[in-house]
């Protein structure tokens, strides 16, 4: 537990020091939302049905970029190896890294919700929506962190993440978009979308924790 807290604290400190990488992520996310506002007719049309898609495509692409970059840096600096030879189980290292990435991304995502609230004139800062964003982020960060690990052993590391991650993330994306729509009182069908999202997040975290020790093995 102490070691996991040490990894989280160290990761957040590194994120704070390496603001350029995360500011790039924030800038990309902001530019995406701004682009959507110019693309949609905000005066005469009801754009609320489009908001779940706008938010999750932005979260997903910004998040994949940020979390994979952060992990790649650990590999290149050799610090991942330094953690793996320590007495801390590899699964604990994985879960701690996922938690710290989720925390850092949540800051960007909540800021984006505030921005979208202003630009689209729709209340997006609610407890329900924040929880949906939290669970969805945990789901995709777990999966992309695991795939980044597998990719780091290959020469084609730049290819493996989009090629493998995006198809695997489709169920999460459907659940997240539908659950977000339901939270905005949009027609979302009767399926338990939030439950699907929770199951996906639990599955990807557990699979990541179990497979990470194998993924880092040489």
């Amino acid at each position: 537990m102490n070691a996991a807290l040490a990894v989280i604290r160290k990761d957040l400190r590194v994120v704070w020091r390496d603001r350029v990488g995360w500011l790039t992520t924030g800038a990309f996310a902001t530019a995406s939302v701004l682009t959507y506002t110019f693309a949609f007719d905000l005066v005469s049309g009801d754009v609320r049905p489009l908001l779940p898609g706008v938010l999750w495509t932005t979260f997903l692409f910004a998040g994949i970029f940020a979390s994979s970059q952060a992990f790649q840096r650990e590999v290149e600096q050799g610090t991942l190896d330094a953690m793996l030879i320590s007495p801390v189980p590899a699964s604990v290292v994985f879960l701690a890294k996922v938690l710290s990435s989720v925390m850092a991304l949540l800051v960007i995502e909540v800021a984006l919700l505030v921005l979208a609230t202003i630009l689209f004139d729709t209340t997006l800062i609610t407890l329900e929506l924040t929880l949906i964003v939290l669970v969805g982020t945990a789901g995709y960060v777990s999966l992309t962190t695991l795939l980044s690990t597998m990719g780091s052993q290959l020469n084609s590391r730049a290819m493996i993440l989009p090629v493998l991650a995006l198809p695997l993330l489709v169920p999460m994306l459907i659940g997240a978009v539908r659950a977000t729509g339901a939270a905005l009182d949009l027609p979302a069908g009767t399926a338990p979308w939030t439950l699907l999202l929770v199951v996906f997040a639990a599955w990807s975290s557990l699979a990541g924790a179990l497979l990470f020790p194998l993924a880092v093995e040489r």
Binding site: N2, K10, V14, R17, Q77, R218
Partner: protein
């Protein structure tokens, strides 16, 4: 003879059919300081990575650390400096050592200060590691490997990027822990007399010279899960 703290038994590591390390057997006693020699591609780095458990062996077994302890204690007993210093560039030297000491559940401010002073980085303890020279990186990497007070130290060409004064400092740092068992790969044959008392020499993955193995191999106990288990 003292107990062996670094043991390899018919250790082999293959990559896609190519044997980087082939049928290597040795047992290095507690407190020994051994130079691992060999040309480029001889298998030194691969052997160290298998010993430190960054790579799994294709065949054979190895153990680094005492035989009669559990896995957590055995890992805690090992310090490793690889071909990179393994440091967070965004953190300061003080923060790097503090983090790694906590990772081993051995936070010790006095130990961190002692090591930073020993490697000549105390005055730069609050500088970002990225701003340090390559030589200082290597010194800090050495301090990182020692921060949890290991009983075994594995080093992969630790003098890389260091000037003569820094190499002497590195030797002194290595010698400051009495009883420390050291296995270090090196190309600096002119310096090995200063710190080593035995040699392992690899050639194309095979062990061709061993003047270091003088230890008795303690058999594993059931409670510790087996010292000879593949690592």
């Amino acid at each position: 003879m003292s107990e062996a703290l670094i043991v390899a038994d018919a250790l082999t590591k293959e990559f896609a059919g190519f044997a980087a390390v082939l049928d290597v057997t040795f047992a290095l006693p507690q407190g020994s300081r051994t130079a691992l020699l060999g040309g480029n591609g001889a298998g030194k780095t691969t052997l160290l990575e298998v010993l430190v458990r960054l790579a799994s062996p294709t065949r054979g077994t190895s153990r680094v650390g005492p035989a009669d302890v559990d896995e957590v204690e055995r890992r805690t007993a090992v310090g490793y400096l690889g071909d990179r210093p393994m440091l967070y560039e965004e953190l300061t030297p003080l923060e790097n050592l503090d983090f790694f000491s906590r990772l081993y559940n051995r936070p010790d401010e006095a130990r961190v200060e002692e090591l930073l002073r020993a490697v000549g980085l105390w005055t730069r303890r609050h500088s970002t590691t990225a701003t340090l020279s390559r030589g200082f990186h290597q010194r800090l990497g050495m301090a990182r490997a020692l921060v949890h007070a290991p009983s075994v130290l594995l080093l992969d060409e630790p003098e890389t990027g260091l000037d003569v004064a820094a190499v002497e400092l590195l030797d002194a740092t290595m010698l400051m822990a009495p009883g420390l068992t050291v296995l270090a790969s090196t190309h600096r044959l002119d310096r090995i007399d200063h710190w080593c008392d035995g040699v392992l020499r690899l050639d194309r993955g095979r062990l061709v010279e061993d003047t270091a193995s003088r230890a008795t191999v303690t058999p594993p106990t059931a409670a510790t899960g087996g010292a000879g288990g593949a690592q």
